[in-house]
Amino acid sequence: MMIQIPTLMDWLATLPPEVVTAAQGYVVAMILLAIILLLNRWQGLGVGNKLIVGTIRGTIQIILMALILVEIFALEDMIIIFAVLLFMATFAAYTVRGNLDYIPGVFRTSLPGVIVGGVGVMLLVTFLGIIQQRGEFIIPMGGMVIGNSMGMTSLILDRMWSNAQKQRALMETALALGATPLQATELTIREAIRSGMLPNLNRYASLGIVSIPGLMSGMIIGGANPVAAAFYQVIIFIMIFLATVVCGIIVSRLFLREMFNDRYQLTVPPPTE
């Protein structure tokens, strides 16, 4: 019996032309990788393995992701699209926990913040018709919004925790005057949210002059009208600001329960040198 095994060339022929073009570019880009590897050896940077493994693993991961996206976009099912966002939010909370493994309760604190802030904002803009109700819009924009919420979350948790250790005396002074946990940490929270917003605020202010940010670049490369892309770029900034502020407020409130008990005692241990 003969089994027809398609050759690589046969398979490639079935792909859309833009994929073929991109794949050819990918192959040629390996020359650049080779140059980096040579520079790496010459300068003794010691990142050769990371680059090679990263290229192989990253390519597989992101192509798998892309194949899944193709399927999801084809379904045009909003429930599945938002289920993907929920999965991303969960993974984001999990990532924050991994990076802040010296802090207790990170996952259960982060998850509600990222979901309400990140996924909530996506629901809102979809519902209001601000962005098109299609996976091609919701998932990449959702990824950016969730990614930024993740960054805000880890900044806030790290700041609140390290301030409770470094400024222990001040926090105890506040509690000793009868402050609630929220009152005792108000300033820390405000400053953490502000510094979490700062990089994006800077990019926002220099929009178009210093930088053409990721979303707009991507849309232009993808063939969109630059003016349309520009509108979406401003929209995504506004979405990111709303999502990160909401996420920051929720995460900071929830985290107070990890830092204080219901007797308003600070439960954060003193720093261990």
Binding site: Q167, A169, L170, E172, T173, A174, L175, A176, L177, G178, A179, T180, Q183, L187, R263, Y264, Q265, L266
Partner: protein, 209 residues
Amino acid sequence: MMGVTMAFGERVLFRDLNLALNHGETIGISGPSGGGKSTLLRIAVNLVSPTAGRVLFHGKDVTEWDPRELRRSMILVPQQASMFPGNVRENLLWGLRIHRLEASEERLRDVLSQVNLPVSMLDKTAGNLSGGEKQRVAIARALLLEPEVLLLDEPTAALDDDSTEVVEESIQRVISDQDIGVMIVTHNSEQAQRLADRIIEIGNSRGGQ
């Protein structure tokens, strides 16, 4: 305080400590460094829970008090005087603000003079004050809330002789001006003699009485 025991792991700081602070009385607390004096004051305002025993305030267990109310009536001024960002005025008002209270400019002046600080101090940046000035601002900040009991943790330990004298004088004035109960932790036994009605030793090997 009734039968209060405090231990961190294996290490027992004090065992079965009994202590009563009567209305308007001043108690001095002394003992070796690391003996648990600061911890005892924290226990009193329920900033930490003792390993065993209870603390009563007005006959009610401190754990049953609303922490905000408890710590408004019985205020701990911690060992290291910490200032909030901003000037002295903002620091003085900090305690009031969290209890949604206000104070007139006149009241601020009164309380400053009680701790021997000039009115010009109000607009200075609190973080730049000397140790003795910070200590007195911290005491004034507590006094503005009109507590029944003031717990002072080594108010003069970090100060030179001159500032010690001024701060001690301020405390003396607070004690005599006001109908206020005071527990003062101090290394300085002469200071304890001068200020306190009676003195309690804690943190000896046998535990305090």
